[in-house]
């Protein structure tokens, strides 16, 4: 009895250590999105390089697609960009570029310089639609299914591991 009593503080200590250790290893920048499992918010936005044309999220219905939030002013976007370019070459999943709070001219130059993996690019110049998507750290990437439900969201630059371990298996699953 007394022996176990002396062990209680030790167990408490270990319990708290494990709890705090886990807390330290979490990334506070990754806020779980409340949007996963919900319908992608509606938008109708102008298209880059297509005069007077507009694209709405309902135009993508029936397809599994990626929405990638980027901007020419965004440094980390450059980090993930080669991965997106490669993804576009190897996959038939369309990527819709979501140009967030950017100048269209700057976006064109940026895409010319770094490659254009996007099927189309929509312009959210004032960031209003971005707000509906809970965008706060560009780049962000959403995977949206054929019924318009958001299935996955990544805040920050995509890595090859995100693509091969999360996105591709999920696409496989959604297509069945």
């Amino acid at each position: 009895m007394t022996a176990t009593r002396f062990l209680i503080p030790l167990f408490l200590f270990f319990g708290i250590t494990v709890f705090l250790w886990k807390g330290l290893s979490l990334n506070p920048k990754e806020v779980p999105s409340p949007l996963i499992g919900k319908a992608a918010p509606e938008f109708t936005l102008p298209i880059l390089n297509e005069f007077d044309a507009r694209l709405s999220n309902s135009d993508m219905e029936g397809k599994v697609w990626l929405l990638n939030v980027f901007a020419s002013w965004c440094g980390p976007c450059l980090v993930e960009h080669p991965i997106l370019v490669n993804f576009a070459k190897t996959s038939d999943i369309p990527i819709l570029g979501f140009n967030y709070k950017d100048k269209p001219q700057a976006a064109v130059q940026w895409l010319n310089r770094h490659g254009d993996p996007y099927e189309r690019v929509v312009l959210d110049i004032d960031g209003r639609v971005g707000l509906d998507y809970g965008v706060y750290g560009v780049p962000e990437t959403f995977l949206i299914d054929g019924r318009g439900i958001i299935r996955y969201k990544k805040i920050g630059p995509l890595t090859q591991a995100d693509v091969s371990e999360d996105i591709l298996p999920l696409i496989q699953e959604l297509r069945q």
């Binding site: 506070p28 920048k29 806020v31 779980p32 999105s33 409340p34 949007l35 709070k101 960031g127 707000l131 509906d132 998507y133 809970g134 706060y136 750290g137």
Partner: protein, 151 residues
């Protein structure tokens, strides 16, 4: 002494600077509306600069969110509707006061439980110690000591 004075001067400078910083961006076209925007803004977290409220922050996102709050107030929405709007998009984390629910229970009742536990332990220790003072008197050593102290 000089150090103290220069420190004071520095402090005054910093404080006055701060108050300037607060006054400058106020677009007080409608002071009453701004007051309400501010009241709501101090309860919303800026997600880019996580330990600041959107009222304190001048980050692009914080400004957008403040504008959004202002627009929604103009449209006649109340504080509750505005907070729901933010939570729908950014999650509970956007609120400075986390809501009471299953996943946040630890936050709300954890400190209270700790306090009760600490109190309970303190009571136990104090009781045991106060009992402990009598304890040696009944033991053999104490009896011998009393014997020796008799004369």
């Amino acid at each position: 002494m000089i150090k103290k004075i220069s420190l004071t001067v520095l402090m005054v400078f910093l404080v006055s600077n701060l108050s300037f910083a607060e006054e400058a961006p106020l677009l007080a076209k409608d002071p009453e509306l701004e007051e309400r925007v501010k009241a709501i803004s101090v309860e919303l977290r800026c997600l880019v600069c996580q330990n600041q409220t959107i009222a304190d922050s001048n980050a692009g996102l914080a400004i957008d969110l403040k504008n959004q709050v202002r627009d929604m107030l103009r449209q006649g929405m109340n504080e509750h509707q505005i907070k729901d709007f933010m939570v729908e998009r950014y999650g509970d984390f956007v609120l400075y006061d986390p809501p009471v629910k299953g996943t946040t229970m630890v936050l709300w009742i954890g400190p209270l439980l700790m306090l009760i536990l600490a109190f309970w332990m303190a009571v136990r220790i104090v009781r045991r110690r106060s009992r402990g003072i009598d304890l040696p008197q009944s033991s053999e050593d104490a009896a011998r000591a009393r014997e020796l102290l008799k004369d």
